[in-house]
Every structure is written in structure tokens, then in C-alpha cells.
Amino acid sequence: MIRHATLAALSLALLAGSSAGAANLQTTAGVQTIQSVSDPLDSPRWEDMRKMFFGDAPVIFDERVRVSAPRIAEDSMNVPVTVDASALGDARSVLVFADFNPIIKVLEFQATHARPSLGFRLKLQQSSPVRAAVLGSDGIWRVGGAWITATGGGCTLPSTGSSSPEWQERLNEVNGRIWSRVDGGERVRMRIIHPMDTGLAAGIPVFHIEDLALADSAGRKLIEIQTFEPVSENPSFTIDLPPEATSGGRLHVSGRDNNGNRIDAWVTP
């Protein structure tokens, strides 16, 4: 049994950026060595993934590219995942994909001033590795990942929004909030109203957010995110800013979906 820790203490620890109690959550692959050249997740699709995303470039599996996700997805439409490449030091650009999804690429982000970590939710069509990959300045891709068992249907089920008229009035509405972190930085959480339809459900065309950016009030870009169809309906994101990127003021969210609808909102502390 896990020892009791108070929520407050744990929240502080988490917001201070330390790793969570790993007992309930898997974090990256359980490899003995920190790095390996063969897929620690032993996915039959790995070779296809390697060719598709990395071509002839060198790839190593590296535990410092952390992927935190539940072992079993309770809700295939909303599987929570956090990727965190900050242990690599110089990581800025992160690619996320799921080997067995009908649409493999989930998202990409460039953490220009934010920490190279992102919390989000995705749809899983079936059990699959979810992987994060970072291209280093040495030209080597470093990959981390986790297998998630899912009962499926996540990508071919229609969004709830597609069957309800309410979202149309609220499309691209942003709800967000900023918290202070004990390390002097900030945490930003935001949720955007959007159906994120994959186009794989019969009769419902593809409709998803493509680009998002978070900037400070001076217009400095903190993080840019390119989202694809597997990102869950009404996407929510958790973004951490280091002290040097923290302004204490409001932050601007901008973006657009594949139909050209704009996202333009401010998140206040």
C-alpha cells in the first residue's frame, strides 16, 4: 500500500516539478539502461514508425524523454498523457505519435520559452504505444514512450459536440488559468471548445484545431503547438513556464482550426 501523503504536500511537489508517485502511473519504458537502440516497448509497428518519422536519422530510446500515462485507459476518448523532455537539457521541439492509431501523429510542440513538457488528452482507437521524440542538436532523435491498453473506438466515434448544437456558439472559446509554481515559474492550464472530429466517423467531416500558440503580453512566444485529429474533443493543455519566462501578467492564446476559424483569447492569473 502506498503511504499517505497530504494532497497539499503532493501538489507542491508536483508543481515544483518533481516526479509523481510512480506506483499508479507508468513513466516511460521500464528499461534497465537509460538508453537503448531497440524498441523497449517491442511494438510490431516500430519499424514503420521509424521510417515514417525519422527516415535514416539515428534514433535512440532515452528514458529522459518521459511519457506519463495510465496503463489502462478508462476512457478511450480522453486518455491523459504528459510528455516531458526537460531532463534532456536542450530539448525544444517535441513530436508525439501513437503507433496503432489510424491517424498516427498526435501533436508537435516547440517550447521556445516554456518548459519542454505538455499535458494533453488523446483518443486511442486501440491499445498502442504513445511516444514522444526529440531531435537533438547532435542530429540524433531521442524517443520515450508508454504502452496504453485501451478498449478502443476513440478515433472512429463521433465527438459529443458533433451531435449537439451548443458547441457552435462556443467554438474556440478558451477557459484558462495561471498558477504560481513553487520554483518561481508558472503553470498554465487551458481548455478550448472544439469537436476535434477525426473525419473517421461516418458522415462527419474532419474538423480540428491545427495551430495554437501561447505568448506573454509583450508578444513573446512561449510555446507553439500543432495539433492533429487524435487530440481529444475540447482539448485541454497543461503548460509549465520556468521562472525566466514568467511575467506575472496575462497570456495570449492564438490559433486556428482547419476551417480557418480563429482562436484569440487571454488567460489571466
Binding site: 494532497l7 478511450s76 499535458g119 478498449t151 473506438g153 487551458m190
Partner: protein, 316 residues
């Protein structure tokens, strides 16, 4: 109980899954749940399932059912997780009495409480209007999920929607002094059945005894209010939906303590800005160490309940 998730499993896939299980089945068993009615009061019987999750090993027998032998017939409370369970429950009743089935109650719309309906006379099947609606609209999805979890134990099981509507009130059924108390919180409708002759309360899934409560359709404030109502009943014994029969209110208080901790943890996590992956890593307090499946149910509950708490925190 709840299902883990509602999915529409294509028939072909289902067949594939079931045939993959075939080698296991060959050596497996006779699909006998070995249901043993236990007399908990005069003419009142309970059948207590394990406090596990659904699996092929237990065939879905993780649920409690019960029956009351009235002067002119038998009142059945919940029919179990499969057609086989229902048939074996009916056979078990026949070892106790040869009186006819007068009323067969589904306390709520979760599949382990109604998938045995096929075995019982259709005109005896009864539930509240909300539960009837829930079985009608969500039953098929639950059933597919139960096939996936319990395998061939489920063969031949089909959703049978009760036709008879139960309303609140104290009435005589088959000569027995019963009271129907429709509460809610575990689902939109959780029917409590009080047998006044014996002082027995069949509390449905509003009480879990040493087994973590499940929350796929929960409304925790309503559930807590229902527990207050239950605790005020001057009963001699409580039959929970899952776990052992109790002669005191300890399981009510334990269920309440867990639900209060769960709701508080989720609200405070959302207010503190935690991501769902961080919530999933939250430890379970020692106070619930004796509650089976607390860690896994907590993680499922985070999936069910955290999104609404997050939205409230973001919109504050």
C-alpha cells in the same frame, strides 16, 4: 458496480476475442457460479459475490443479489451479471422454496444487477422509470463490455428491459411488508428495498463493504445525501451491492468517508492546477487500505470526475 467503459465492440472482434479464449475454456470450468443462498433473517437470503473486478476467473460474480420468501411468492433483488447467473440464481431459489417468483427487482441500471433478467418471468421484472430508461439506452453497450470482460460466461446473455415500474412507498408484495425507497447518487436511480418484517435493508450500490465504490455514473453530493438517509433507517442489517452483509452502519460510514475523500481530492487537485496524469499518481490514504481495489477504482474515478472539476476550476 459500473462498467469500465462503454464501447461498441464489433461482433467480429467479439467472436475473435471469444475464440482466443477457447483454449482457456477447454480446461476452465462448468460455468457454475456455485451460488449459495445464505439465510440472513427469517425468509431472507443473500448471495454474496467477491469484491473483485469483472474477470473471466470470476465470471462476473462480483455482485450481491438476494431474495425474500413471502407468504405467497418470492421477491428477487437483482439478477446478477449474466444469463447463467440468473438461471443459477433461479435454481438456487428453487432449493429453498417452491413458491412462484412474484417480483424481480433491478435496483439500478448497472449490468451486473440486471443481465440475469432473462431467467425470470418477464412480467415480474420491475425497476424505477429512470433505471428502465438506463437499461434501455445503455444496456447494449454495458452488455458488450461484459462479454469482453467475462468471456464465455456471458454466452446467451441478452438485455431484457423490465416492463413494470416501481414507485416509492410501503406496500405488501406476496404478503410481505416491503418499502421501496428510490434514492440516487451511485447512478441516477438507486432503489433501496426495505423488508420491514425482518428489518433488512437491501441498499443496492449505495453501500460498498470493503470494496472501493465505483463512479461511472455517480453524483457524489446526491450519493452522500442518500447515505445520510440510509444511516437514519432503524435497520437490523444492511445488504450492500458489493461486499459482506453488515449488522451495523460501519460500511455506510466507510463508503461516506471514501466518497468525501474522493470528492475533496478531486476538487483540491483541480483547484491546485494538477494535470490528470498527476491526479492519477495520487496515493490512497491508509484509511482505505482495507478497501479492495481502492487504487484502481480511484484512477477510474479520476477519469470520470476530474474533467468536470477541472472545468469548474478553469471557469472560476
Amino acid at each position: 458496480m459500473g462498467d469500465t467503459m462503454i464501447t461498441s465492440v464489433p461482433r467480429a472482434l467479439l467472436t475473435l476475442l471469444l475464440s482466443a479464449l477457447a483454449p482457456l475454456l477447454a480446461q476452465a470450468n462448468d460455468f457454475d457460479y456455485r451460488l449459495a443462498p445464505r439465510m440472513i433473517a427469517n425468509d431472507v437470503y443473500a448471495l454474496i459475490g467477491t469484491t473483485e473486478d469483472f474477470s473471466f476467473a470470476n465470471g462476473g460474480n462480483i455482485v450481491n443479489s438476494g431474495f425474500i420468501v413471502g407468504p405467497s411468492g418470492v421477491i428477487v433483488i437483482d439478477t446478477g451479471s449474466s444469463r447463467r447467473y440468473g438461471e443459477q440464481l433461479l435454481a438456487a431459489i428453487a432449493t429453498i422454496t417452491d413458491k412462484p417468483i412474484a417480483l424481480t427487482i433491478n435496483t439500478h441500471h448497472h449490468p451486473d444487477h440486471f443481465l440475469g433478467n432473462q431467467a425470470f418471468p418477464p412480467d415480474t421484472l420491475a425497476a424505477t422509470p429512470e433505471t428502465i430508461h438506463g437499461i434501455r439506452t445503455e444496456g447494449e453497450g454495458f452488455s458488450a463490455n461484459m462479454y469482453r470482460l467475462n468471456g464465455d460466461w456471458m454466452l446467451g446473455s441478452e438485455v431484457v428491459v423490465p416492463a413494470k415500474t416501481l414507485a416509492a412507498g410501503r406496500i405488501r408484495v406476496a404478503g410481505r411488508d416491503l418499502e421501496f425507497l428510490p434514492l440516487a447518487g451511485h447512478t441516477a436511480s438507486d432503489l433501496v428495498v426495505i423488508d420491514h418484517d425482518s428489518g433488512t435493508v437491501f441498499a443496492a450500490d449505495l453501500i460498498f463493504n470493503r470494496r472501493a465504490p465505483t463512479t461511472p455514473h455517480a453524483d457524489i453530493p446526491r450519493w452522500l445525501a442518500a447515505l445520510d438517509t440510509l444511516e437514519a433507517i432503524p435497520a437490523k442489517r444492511w445488504v450492500p451491492g458489493h461486499g459482506e452483509v453488515s449488522e451495523d452502519t460501519a460500511p455506510i460510514r466507510h463508503t461516506r468517508a471514501y466518497l468525501e475523500w474522493l470528492a475533496d481530492t478531486i476538487t483540491r487537485g483541480a483547484e491546485a492546477g494538477l494535470d490528470m496524469t498527476e491526479m492519477l499518481a495520487m496515493p490512497i490514504p491508509e484509511a482505505f487500505a482495507d478497501m479492495n481495489l481502492a487504487a484502481s477504482e480511484f484512477r477510474r474515478s479520476v477519469t470520470h470526475l476530474y474533467p468536470a472539476a477541472e472545468q469548474a476550476a478553469l471557469k472560476r
